[in-house]
Protein backbone atom coordinates (compact mmCIF):
# COMPACT_ATOMS: atom_id res chain seq x y z
CA UNK A 1 0.00 0.00 0.00
CA UNK A 2 1.32 3.46 -0.95
CA UNK A 3 0.19 4.98 2.32
CA UNK A 4 -2.18 4.38 5.18
CA UNK A 5 -3.48 7.90 4.62
CA UNK A 6 -5.36 7.32 1.37
CA UNK A 7 -9.05 8.17 1.79
CA UNK A 8 -10.22 6.71 -1.51
CA UNK A 9 -9.62 3.26 -3.00
CA UNK A 10 -6.22 3.09 -4.70
CA UNK A 11 -7.78 1.73 -7.91
CA UNK A 12 -9.76 4.97 -8.30
CA UNK A 13 -6.66 7.17 -8.08
CA UNK A 14 -4.16 7.89 -10.84
CA UNK A 15 -0.40 7.84 -10.40
CA UNK A 16 -0.11 11.64 -10.18
CA UNK A 17 -2.66 11.81 -7.36
CA UNK A 18 -0.84 9.14 -5.37
CA UNK A 19 2.48 10.95 -5.88
CA UNK A 20 0.81 14.16 -4.69
CA UNK A 21 -0.37 12.30 -1.62
CA UNK A 22 3.14 10.99 -0.97
CA UNK A 23 4.56 14.50 -1.14
CA UNK A 24 1.86 15.98 1.09
CA UNK A 25 2.30 13.20 3.63
CA UNK A 26 6.05 13.83 3.65
CA UNK A 27 5.47 17.55 4.12
CA UNK A 28 3.17 16.89 7.09
CA UNK A 29 5.76 14.56 8.63
CA UNK A 30 8.53 17.13 8.25
CA UNK A 31 6.40 19.88 9.84
CA UNK A 32 5.44 17.57 12.70
CA UNK A 33 9.11 16.72 13.26
CA UNK A 34 9.97 20.45 13.40
CA UNK A 35 7.30 20.91 16.06
CA UNK A 36 8.49 17.94 18.12
CA UNK A 37 12.16 18.95 17.95
CA UNK A 38 11.20 22.50 18.90
CA UNK A 39 9.35 21.32 22.00
CA UNK A 40 12.32 19.16 23.03
CA UNK A 41 14.71 22.10 22.58
CA UNK A 42 12.54 24.19 24.91
CA UNK A 43 12.09 21.38 27.42
CA UNK A 44 15.65 20.17 27.95
CA UNK A 45 17.92 21.84 30.47
CA UNK A 46 21.05 20.38 28.81
CA UNK A 47 22.43 23.09 26.52
CA UNK A 48 24.51 20.70 24.40
CA UNK A 49 21.47 18.50 23.76
CA UNK A 50 19.38 21.56 22.94
CA UNK A 51 21.98 22.57 20.34
CA UNK A 52 21.87 19.14 18.68
CA UNK A 53 18.07 19.11 18.67
CA UNK A 54 17.90 22.64 17.27
CA UNK A 55 20.31 21.64 14.50
CA UNK A 56 18.14 18.64 13.64
CA UNK A 57 14.98 20.75 13.81
CA UNK A 58 16.34 23.25 11.29
CA UNK A 59 17.45 20.42 9.02
CA UNK A 60 13.80 19.31 8.85
CA UNK A 61 12.88 22.82 7.64
CA UNK A 62 15.00 22.25 4.56
CA UNK A 63 13.21 18.96 3.92
CA UNK A 64 9.81 20.63 4.35
CA UNK A 65 10.75 23.41 1.92
CA UNK A 66 11.84 20.85 -0.69
CA UNK A 67 8.57 18.92 -0.42
CA UNK A 68 6.56 22.15 -0.61
CA UNK A 69 8.44 23.25 -3.72
CA UNK A 70 7.76 19.89 -5.38
CA UNK A 71 4.06 20.39 -4.71
CA UNK A 72 4.10 24.02 -5.89
CA UNK A 73 5.52 23.04 -9.26
CA UNK A 74 2.57 20.73 -9.85
CA UNK A 75 -0.31 22.71 -8.37
CA UNK A 76 -1.12 26.02 -10.08
CA UNK A 77 -3.57 27.12 -7.34
CA UNK A 78 -0.98 26.45 -4.63
CA UNK A 79 1.62 28.23 -6.76
CA UNK A 80 -0.65 31.29 -7.08
CA UNK A 81 -1.31 31.44 -3.33
CA UNK A 82 2.33 31.00 -2.36
CA UNK A 83 3.26 33.80 -4.74
CA UNK A 84 0.52 35.92 -3.20
CA UNK A 85 1.49 35.49 0.46
CA UNK A 86 5.13 34.45 0.75
CA UNK A 87 7.95 36.97 1.20
CA UNK A 88 5.57 39.85 1.94
CA UNK A 89 5.83 42.16 4.92
CA UNK A 90 2.38 43.67 5.64
CA UNK A 91 -0.38 42.14 7.77
CA UNK A 92 -1.13 38.80 6.14
CA UNK A 93 -4.91 39.12 6.08
CA UNK A 94 -4.69 42.54 4.47
CA UNK A 95 -2.40 41.19 1.77
CA UNK A 96 -5.03 38.61 0.94
CA UNK A 97 -7.76 41.28 0.87
CA UNK A 98 -5.73 43.61 -1.29
CA UNK A 99 -5.13 40.95 -3.86
CA UNK A 100 -8.68 39.64 -3.95
CA UNK A 101 -10.15 43.15 -4.09
CA UNK A 102 -7.74 44.23 -6.76
CA UNK A 103 -8.38 41.28 -9.05
CA UNK A 104 -5.36 39.17 -9.72
CA UNK A 105 -1.75 40.15 -10.19
CA UNK A 106 -1.07 39.89 -13.92
CA UNK A 107 2.58 39.19 -13.19
CA UNK A 108 2.01 36.00 -11.25
CA UNK A 109 -1.59 35.10 -12.03
CA UNK A 110 -1.75 31.48 -13.16
CA UNK A 111 -5.57 31.29 -13.38
CA UNK A 112 -6.48 29.65 -16.62
CA UNK A 113 -3.38 27.50 -16.51
CA UNK A 114 -4.05 23.82 -17.01
CA UNK A 115 -1.49 23.09 -14.30
CA UNK A 116 0.48 20.54 -16.32
CA UNK A 117 3.97 21.47 -15.07
CA UNK A 118 6.72 18.89 -14.93
CA UNK A 119 6.00 15.35 -16.12
CA UNK A 120 9.49 14.00 -15.39
CA UNK A 121 9.19 10.51 -14.00
CA UNK A 122 5.72 9.98 -15.49
CA UNK A 123 6.77 8.12 -18.62
Amino acid sequence: MASEGLHEPLELLNEATVDHHRAMTSLCEELEAIDWYDQRVRATSDESLAAVLAYNRDDEKEHAAMALEWLRRRDSALDANLRKFLFTSGPITEIGDEVSDDASDPVTDQSGSLGIGSLKGRA
Binding site: S104, P106, V107, S111, G112, L114, I116, S118, L119
Partner: protein
Protein backbone atom coordinates in the same frame (compact mmCIF):
# COMPACT_ATOMS: atom_id res chain seq x y z
CA UNK B 1 -8.99 38.72 -15.09
CA UNK B 2 -5.72 38.12 -16.90
CA UNK B 3 -4.82 38.33 -20.60
CA UNK B 4 -6.55 35.03 -21.36
CA UNK B 5 -9.89 36.90 -21.08
CA UNK B 6 -11.71 33.72 -20.04
CA UNK B 7 -14.32 35.75 -18.15
CA UNK B 8 -15.45 37.37 -21.42
CA UNK B 9 -16.27 34.05 -23.09
CA UNK B 10 -19.92 32.90 -23.22
CA UNK B 11 -18.90 29.73 -21.40
CA UNK B 12 -20.26 28.64 -18.00
CA UNK B 13 -18.05 27.31 -15.20
CA UNK B 14 -19.07 23.76 -16.06
CA UNK B 15 -18.27 24.43 -19.71
CA UNK B 16 -14.78 25.63 -18.81
CA UNK B 17 -14.39 22.59 -16.54
CA UNK B 18 -15.25 20.27 -19.44
CA UNK B 19 -12.78 22.02 -21.78
CA UNK B 20 -9.98 22.10 -19.20
CA UNK B 21 -10.53 18.48 -18.19
CA UNK B 22 -10.40 17.35 -21.80
CA UNK B 23 -7.12 19.21 -22.25
CA UNK B 24 -5.49 18.03 -19.02
CA UNK B 25 -6.47 14.42 -19.68
CA UNK B 26 -4.91 14.35 -23.15
CA UNK B 27 -1.90 16.65 -22.92
CA UNK B 28 0.38 14.41 -20.80
CA UNK B 29 0.21 11.69 -23.45
CA UNK B 30 1.71 14.00 -26.06
CA UNK B 31 4.08 16.08 -23.88
CA UNK B 32 7.00 13.70 -24.18
CA UNK B 33 9.81 16.21 -23.70
CA UNK B 34 8.53 17.15 -20.23
CA UNK B 35 8.92 13.51 -19.19
CA UNK B 36 12.66 13.67 -19.83
CA UNK B 37 13.99 17.20 -19.19
CA UNK B 38 14.00 19.48 -16.14
CA UNK B 39 11.07 21.89 -15.83
CA UNK B 40 11.52 25.32 -14.28
CA UNK B 41 8.49 27.45 -13.40
CA UNK B 42 5.86 28.33 -14.35
CA UNK B 43 7.12 31.90 -13.83
CA UNK B 44 4.05 33.71 -15.20
CA UNK B 45 3.08 35.45 -18.42
CA UNK B 46 5.33 38.45 -17.74
CA UNK B 47 8.45 36.26 -17.54
CA UNK B 48 10.17 37.28 -20.77
CA UNK B 49 13.59 35.70 -20.76
CA UNK B 50 15.85 33.11 -19.20
CA UNK B 51 18.96 34.41 -17.49
CA UNK B 52 22.08 32.81 -18.98
CA UNK B 53 24.51 34.15 -16.39
CA UNK B 54 26.88 35.29 -19.13
CA UNK B 55 27.94 38.55 -20.71
CA UNK B 56 28.92 39.80 -24.15
CA UNK B 57 31.63 42.44 -24.31
CA UNK B 58 30.51 45.62 -26.07
CA UNK B 59 32.05 49.03 -26.77
CA UNK B 60 32.17 51.33 -23.78
CA UNK B 61 29.98 54.45 -23.72
CA UNK B 62 32.90 56.85 -23.23
CA UNK B 63 36.68 56.96 -22.99
CA UNK B 64 38.16 54.81 -20.24
CA UNK B 65 34.87 52.98 -19.60
CA UNK B 66 34.49 49.34 -20.54
CA UNK B 67 31.11 47.70 -20.96
CA UNK B 68 29.49 44.30 -21.18
CA UNK B 69 25.91 43.31 -21.78
CA UNK B 70 24.06 40.57 -19.92
CA UNK B 71 22.95 37.73 -22.20
CA UNK B 72 19.46 36.35 -21.94
CA UNK B 73 17.41 33.82 -23.88
CA UNK B 74 13.99 35.26 -24.81
CA UNK B 75 10.96 33.06 -24.25
CA UNK B 76 8.91 31.93 -27.23
CA UNK B 77 5.12 32.25 -27.16
CA UNK B 78 3.24 29.51 -29.01
CA UNK B 79 -0.48 29.36 -29.63
CA UNK B 80 -2.97 27.10 -31.41
CA UNK B 81 -6.51 28.25 -32.08
CA UNK B 82 -9.60 26.05 -32.01
CA UNK B 83 -13.37 26.33 -32.01
CA UNK B 84 -15.95 24.84 -29.66
CA UNK B 85 -19.58 24.33 -30.71
CA UNK B 86 -22.02 26.29 -28.56
CA UNK B 87 -24.46 23.39 -28.90
CA UNK B 88 -21.88 21.14 -27.24
CA UNK B 89 -21.40 23.72 -24.47
CA UNK B 90 -25.17 23.89 -23.97
CA UNK B 91 -25.23 20.10 -23.67
CA UNK B 92 -22.61 20.29 -20.91
CA UNK B 93 -25.09 22.45 -19.00
CA UNK B 94 -27.71 19.76 -19.60
CA UNK B 95 -25.42 17.25 -17.97
CA UNK B 96 -23.57 15.52 -20.78
CA UNK B 97 -20.23 14.20 -19.58
CA UNK B 98 -18.65 13.49 -22.98
CA UNK B 99 -18.84 16.68 -25.07
CA UNK B 100 -17.48 16.43 -28.61
CA UNK B 101 -14.44 18.74 -28.81
CA UNK B 102 -12.56 17.58 -31.92
CA UNK B 103 -10.77 20.88 -32.65
CA UNK B 104 -9.55 21.09 -29.06
CA UNK B 105 -8.12 17.59 -29.35
CA UNK B 106 -6.27 18.52 -32.54
CA UNK B 107 -5.01 21.80 -31.01
CA UNK B 108 -3.63 19.87 -28.04
CA UNK B 109 -1.81 17.46 -30.33
CA UNK B 110 -0.38 20.31 -32.40
CA UNK B 111 0.93 22.46 -29.54
CA UNK B 112 2.44 19.47 -27.74
CA UNK B 113 4.14 18.36 -30.94
CA UNK B 114 5.56 21.89 -31.32
CA UNK B 115 6.98 21.69 -27.79
CA UNK B 116 8.59 18.31 -28.48
CA UNK B 117 10.09 19.47 -31.78
CA UNK B 118 11.56 22.57 -30.12
CA UNK B 119 13.13 20.62 -27.27
CA UNK B 120 14.64 17.89 -29.43
CA UNK B 121 15.40 19.73 -32.69
CA UNK B 122 15.22 23.43 -31.75
CA UNK B 123 13.45 26.34 -33.42
CA UNK B 124 15.81 28.64 -35.25
CA UNK B 125 13.35 31.54 -35.61
CA UNK B 126 13.19 31.81 -31.82
CA UNK B 127 16.91 31.25 -31.29
CA UNK B 128 16.24 28.02 -29.39
CA UNK B 129 18.67 25.16 -29.94
CA UNK B 130 17.38 21.65 -29.42
CA UNK B 131 19.08 18.60 -27.97
CA UNK B 132 20.05 17.02 -31.31
CA UNK B 133 21.59 20.33 -32.45
CA UNK B 134 23.51 20.84 -29.24
CA UNK B 135 24.88 17.40 -28.44
CA UNK B 136 28.64 17.04 -28.59
CA UNK B 137 28.39 13.41 -29.76
CA UNK B 138 28.07 12.12 -33.30
CA UNK B 139 24.65 10.57 -34.02
CA UNK B 140 24.49 6.79 -33.76
CA UNK B 141 22.78 4.87 -36.58
CA UNK B 142 19.62 3.06 -35.54
CA UNK B 143 18.62 0.03 -37.54
CA UNK B 144 15.08 0.12 -38.92
CA UNK B 145 14.82 -3.52 -37.89
CA UNK B 146 13.70 -2.83 -34.33
CA UNK B 147 14.95 -6.19 -33.08
CA UNK B 148 18.46 -4.82 -33.65
CA UNK B 149 17.67 -1.54 -31.86
CA UNK B 150 19.32 -2.65 -28.59
CA UNK B 151 22.69 -2.40 -30.37
CA UNK B 152 22.26 1.32 -31.12
CA UNK B 153 20.77 2.10 -27.71
CA UNK B 154 23.56 0.24 -25.91
CA UNK B 155 26.16 2.16 -27.96
CA UNK B 156 24.48 5.44 -27.04
CA UNK B 157 24.46 4.56 -23.33
CA UNK B 158 28.12 3.53 -23.58
CA UNK B 159 28.95 6.86 -25.25
CA UNK B 160 27.34 8.75 -22.37
CA UNK B 161 29.15 6.65 -19.74
CA UNK B 162 32.47 7.11 -21.54
CA UNK B 163 31.86 10.87 -21.34
CA UNK B 164 31.30 10.63 -17.58
CA UNK B 165 27.57 11.22 -17.80
CA UNK B 166 25.74 9.24 -15.16
CA UNK B 167 22.31 7.63 -15.53
CA UNK B 168 19.59 6.69 -15.38
CA UNK B 169 19.05 7.23 -19.07
CA UNK B 170 15.84 7.69 -21.04
CA UNK B 171 14.99 7.14 -24.68
CA UNK B 172 12.72 9.48 -26.64
CA UNK B 173 11.62 7.57 -29.71
CA UNK B 174 9.42 8.37 -32.71
CA UNK B 175 5.90 6.87 -32.61
CA UNK B 176 6.43 4.44 -35.50
CA UNK B 177 9.46 2.81 -33.88
CA UNK B 178 7.89 2.86 -30.44
CA UNK B 179 4.90 0.91 -31.70
CA UNK B 180 7.10 -1.66 -33.41
CA UNK B 181 9.21 -2.00 -30.26
CA UNK B 182 6.28 -2.73 -27.96
CA UNK B 183 4.95 -5.25 -30.48
CA UNK B 184 8.24 -7.11 -30.65
CA UNK B 185 9.61 -10.03 -28.72
CA UNK B 186 13.23 -11.04 -29.04
CA UNK B 187 14.53 -14.57 -29.21
CA UNK B 188 13.32 -16.48 -26.22
CA UNK B 189 10.11 -14.48 -25.99
CA UNK B 190 11.46 -11.62 -23.86
CA UNK B 191 9.85 -8.32 -24.61
CA UNK B 192 12.12 -5.95 -26.52
CA UNK B 193 10.66 -3.10 -24.47
CA UNK B 194 11.87 -4.66 -21.22
CA UNK B 195 15.32 -5.33 -22.68
CA UNK B 196 15.70 -1.68 -23.74
CA UNK B 197 14.52 -0.47 -20.32
CA UNK B 198 17.21 -2.59 -18.66
CA UNK B 199 19.90 -1.13 -20.92
CA UNK B 200 18.72 2.41 -20.17
CA UNK B 201 17.82 2.06 -16.50
CA UNK B 202 14.98 4.42 -17.38
CA UNK B 203 11.92 4.82 -19.60
CA UNK B 204 11.18 4.70 -23.31
CA UNK B 205 8.98 7.66 -24.15
CA UNK B 206 6.61 7.79 -27.14
CA UNK B 207 7.59 11.12 -28.68
CA UNK B 208 5.52 12.60 -31.50
CA UNK B 209 7.55 15.12 -33.48
CA UNK B 210 10.99 13.61 -32.92
CA UNK B 211 13.05 12.32 -35.84
CA UNK B 212 14.56 8.95 -34.96
CA UNK B 213 15.39 9.00 -31.27
CA UNK B 214 17.49 10.51 -28.51
CA UNK B 215 19.14 8.80 -25.55
CA UNK B 216 19.69 11.25 -22.71
CA UNK B 217 20.64 11.30 -19.07
CA UNK B 218 17.83 11.78 -16.55
CA UNK B 219 20.17 12.63 -13.66
CA UNK B 220 19.02 16.27 -13.79
CA UNK B 221 20.76 19.58 -14.41
CA UNK B 222 21.51 18.93 -18.09
CA UNK B 223 18.42 20.16 -19.97
CA UNK B 224 16.21 23.03 -18.83
CA UNK B 225 12.69 23.83 -20.01
CA UNK B 226 11.95 27.31 -18.64
CA UNK B 227 8.19 27.89 -18.47
CA UNK B 228 6.74 31.38 -18.39
CA UNK B 229 3.05 30.72 -18.67
CA UNK B 230 2.31 27.03 -18.63
CA UNK B 231 -0.23 25.64 -21.10
CA UNK B 232 -3.42 27.67 -20.71
CA UNK B 233 -6.66 28.14 -22.60
CA UNK B 234 -7.85 31.64 -23.49
CA UNK B 235 -10.73 33.31 -25.31
CA UNK B 236 -10.65 35.02 -28.73
CA UNK B 237 -14.24 35.70 -29.86
CA UNK B 238 -17.57 34.03 -30.62
CA UNK B 239 -20.63 34.07 -32.85
CA UNK B 240 -24.01 32.36 -32.61
CA UNK B 241 -22.57 28.94 -33.43
CA UNK B 242 -19.06 28.65 -32.06
CA UNK B 243 -16.67 30.07 -29.49
CA UNK B 244 -13.11 30.60 -30.69
CA UNK B 245 -10.48 29.77 -28.09
CA UNK B 246 -6.76 29.10 -28.09
CA UNK B 247 -4.25 27.08 -26.13
CA UNK B 248 -1.04 28.92 -25.38
CA UNK B 249 2.22 28.77 -23.50
CA UNK B 250 5.53 30.61 -23.30
CA UNK B 251 8.86 28.89 -22.77
CA UNK B 252 12.53 28.68 -23.58
CA UNK B 253 14.73 25.63 -23.71
CA UNK B 254 18.46 25.21 -23.40
CA UNK B 255 20.97 22.43 -23.16
CA UNK B 256 23.29 22.96 -20.20
CA UNK B 257 25.47 19.89 -20.77
CA UNK B 258 25.96 19.01 -24.47
CA UNK B 259 27.65 15.72 -23.47
CA UNK B 260 24.46 14.41 -21.82
CA UNK B 261 22.56 13.25 -24.93
CA UNK B 262 23.15 11.17 -28.05
CA UNK B 263 20.93 11.31 -31.15
CA UNK B 264 19.85 8.09 -32.83
CA UNK B 265 19.55 8.54 -36.57
CA UNK B 266 17.38 6.10 -38.50
CA UNK B 267 19.33 4.36 -41.23
CA UNK B 268 17.91 4.99 -44.69
Amino acid sequence: MNHLLRNLAPISDSGWDAIDQEATSRLPTYLAARKLVDFSGPHGWSHSSTDLGRIATIAGPSEGVTAAQRRVLPLMEVRTEFRVSRIELDDVERGTTNPDLPELDEAIRQIALGENVTVFHGHQAAGLRGITESTSHEPIPLDRDVERSPDGVARAVDTLRQAGIDGPYGLAICPDLYTRIIESAEYGGHLLLDHLRKILGGPLVWTPGIEGGVVLSLRGGDFQFDSGQDLSIGYLDHDADVVRLYIEESFSFRVLEPDAAVALRLET
